[in-house]
């Protein structure tokens, strides 16, 4: 077990900069997700840590030891690949034992470790089968067991669940969390699926265009995105961004006056989570024109506009709003994020 320091890693493919000075510190035993849309550099970063890709400049240290020049096998880490990468010509047992065999572990230790890992992932019944007799979910369990069997200092996972169908993914997600919590391994997990990242991670690093836009606890990232991109990428529906005029450091939301951060211009962007509102009578509430109302069972999803800018808000399922209605909304001032209209960056949270 060890902490990982990623120090100003850059990676260029010709003129294209895949990673622009990425720095991250991951603590011992922590589970950190690299989350972002495809092409944001998250997989490249993971492969640089694994030693499967070389960085243009920068350093990676695991527990104070620089690993940047080392071949993958000397880095003391294990990896789970997107398409499992389970060796088809070996039995499940030999697959799980592969890393230990390469370390020249004696048979007793191999057996003990394989059985332990197989027990954690519930694959004991398949140990003497070949992978082509297994389903996708079972293969992924084998891949995870293979990684855990070597008791790595660091575990890297590259979209391990993306090849599974939706139901299996949910099941494996819960199971992964249980297994990794008990193993306590420092884990870096690459995904483009925000629910996976939210559910599994101690911290999430949201990446965009080769830059870490924000790193923090999932709830913190959800409630207080550092940039407009983060707010728009995380959450379903994404965060609403409404450009509003500022007068005397205040923004009018219906009858209510909301305090803005100090030293802002004439305009500011109001970042609003869809569920951080409640119904209020007009004219006290902020006026919203509802274009479409979709009852989702658990909640009511409204799509429409505020100040002629598109928004999506969520109300309790018990409310009876119809398409075409004009409603009033009371905003939860503690859950508003203020963003600069020019840079798209958010201001520090205002203390009410």
């Amino acid at each position: 077990m060890a902490n990982i320091v990623i120090d100003r890693i850059r990676k260029s493919f010709g003129a294209f900069q895949a990673l622009k000075e990425v720095s991250l510190t991951i603590n011992d035993g922590e589970f950190v997700s690299l989350l972002g849309p495809s092409g944001c550099g998250k997989t490249t970063l993971l492969r640089i840590i694994a030693g499967l890709e070389t960085s243009t400049s920068g350093d990676v240290r695991i527990g104070d030891r620089s690993i940047i020049g080392l071949v993958p096998k000397d880095r003391g880490l294990a990896m789970v690949f997107q398409n499992y990468a389970v060796f088809p010509h070996m039995t499940v047992y030999e697959n799980v034992a592969f890393g230990l065999r390469m370390q020249k572990a004696d048979d007793a230790r191999v057996k003990a470790q394989v059985e332990k890992a197989a027990g954690l992932l519930h694959i004991e019944p398949y140990l003497d089968r070949y992978p082509n007799k297994l389903s996708g979910g079972q293969r992924q369990r084998v891949a995870v067991a293979r990684a855990l069997a070597v008791e790595p200092k660091v575990l890297l996972m590259d979209e391990p669940l993306s090849n599974l169908d939706a139901l299996l993914r949910l099941e494996m997600r819960t199971e992964l969390k249980t297994v990794l919590q008990s193993a306590g391994t420092t884990t870096i997990y690459v995904t483009h699926d925000q629910t996976e990242a939210m559910g599994l991670s101690d911290r999430i690093a949201v990446m965009h265009n080769g830059v870490v836009e924000q790193i923090g606890h999932p709830v913190e990232i959800y409630n207080h995105p550092a940039t407009r991109f983060v707010g728009g990428f995380i959450g379903n529906p994404p965060m609403n961004f409404i450009k509003v005029p500022v007068s005397n450091g205040q923004v009018a939301a219906g009858a209510e006056q909301l305090a803005t951060p100090k030293d802002v211009g004439n305009e500011i962007v109001l970042g609003l989570r869809g569920e951080a509102v409640e119904l209020a009578p007009l004219p006290q509430g902020l006026e919203m024109k509802v274009r479409v109302a979709e009852p989702m069972g658990s909640h009511l999803l409204l799509t429409g506009s505020i100040h002629d800018q598109p928004v999506r808000v969520i109300l309790p399922a018990s409310e009876t709003v119809k398409s075409g209605d004009t409603i009033g909304l009371k905003l939860d001032s503690k859950r508003i994020t203020w963003l600069s209209p020019e840079s798209g960056k958010s201001f520090p949270a205002v203390l009410a």
Partner: protein
């Protein structure tokens, strides 16, 4: 009521007849293909084993009457036959070994690495086949005499390697491309050097294809006659030997020679059929 049962019976009969006609088509196709391959071999064998009378008998019965191994053994006892057979095996062995040892690494490099001039290299590899051997025959003979390779099996093996190598490199490239890179990367991460990963993971998975490539190289060498005839005088390969000797031989000797040319390839392919089937997807288990 009766019409109802009639139509039901018809409906049941229709797919059944469809299935049976499909099956009939399948088996007649198999029979035709088998006949295509087996009938000529059978006729050659008949000629080789039937002796002098067997060859000239008319009308041909096509039945294995009066066959014995004697004419064939007599042919084997002819001076030079066994030696040239062994020479052929030797040349083919050298060709197989060298084209795999040189061609497979080239194919691996083409499959796994991006390097400047990769496409031109690939074209260049094929270009070695662009020069007809007839043009090269004289300069080759001269330089082989200088190098002391003339009239040796090693020399013939080298030339056959040149013929087989382009195919070996390009075919193995396709085979290595078929082994997912992630498997190799997983091997690296879990403690293998590049060389170890190749032998522990890539090679076992590529084996069927490599064996098929070996068959290919073997057949190229075994069937080649021009270079073998030009570059040897006494140490002839079987094809070169038969070409010069059989034109003056009786008919059943020619058939015996033909059979001897066919059999090793058939036996060799039969021996490695498991791997060939695997790569052709008939059975990947």
């Amino acid at each position: 009521m009766s019409t109802k049962t009639m139509s039901a019976a018809e409906a049941a009969a229709k797919p059944a007849s469809f299935v049976s006609s499909r099956r009939w088509l399948l088996w007649s196709g198999i029979a035709a293909l088998c006949a295509w391959v087996l009938v000529p071999i059978y006729l050659v064998a008949l000629g080789a084993l039937g002796g002098r009378q067997g060859v000239y008998i008319w009308p041909k019965t096509g039945l294995p009457t009066g066959i014995s191994l004697e004419p064939f053994i007599l042919f084997l006892k002819t001076e030079g036959v066994v030696q040239s057979f062994l020479n052929s095996l030797g040349a083919a062995g050298i060709t197989v070994a060298l084209s795999i040892l040189l061609g497979a690494p080239a194919g691996y490099a083409l499959a796994r690495y991006d390097f400047r001039g990769k496409d031109s290299y690939r074209l260049l590899v094929l270009l070695t086949r662009a020069f007809p051997l007839a043009i090269l025959a004289l300069p080759l003979t001269v330089s082989f005499i200088r190098l002391g390779l003339y009239d040796t099996i090693v020399g013939v093996g080298l030339i056959h390697t040149v013929l087989a190598l382009p195919f070996a490199a390009l075919v193995t490239q396709g085979i290595f491309l078929g082994v997912p890179k992630e498997l190799e990367e997983a091997a690296w991460v879990f403690g293998c050097t590049r060389v170890q990963a190749f032998f522990k993971v890539v090679a076992p998975l590529a084996l069927p294809g490599i064996v098929a490539t070996a068959v290919f190289a073997f057949v190229i060498s075994w069937n080649e006659v021009f270079a073998a005839s030009v570059l040897t005088v006494r140490n002839r390969t079987l094809t070169a030997y038969l070409l010069t000797v059989l034109s003056e031989s009786p008919m059943h000797y020619r058939f015996a020679g033909g059979l001897m040319l066919i059999l090793p390839s058939v036996v060799f392919i039969f021996a490695v059929r498991r791997y060939l089937f695997a790569i052709w997807g008939i059975s990947s288990k």
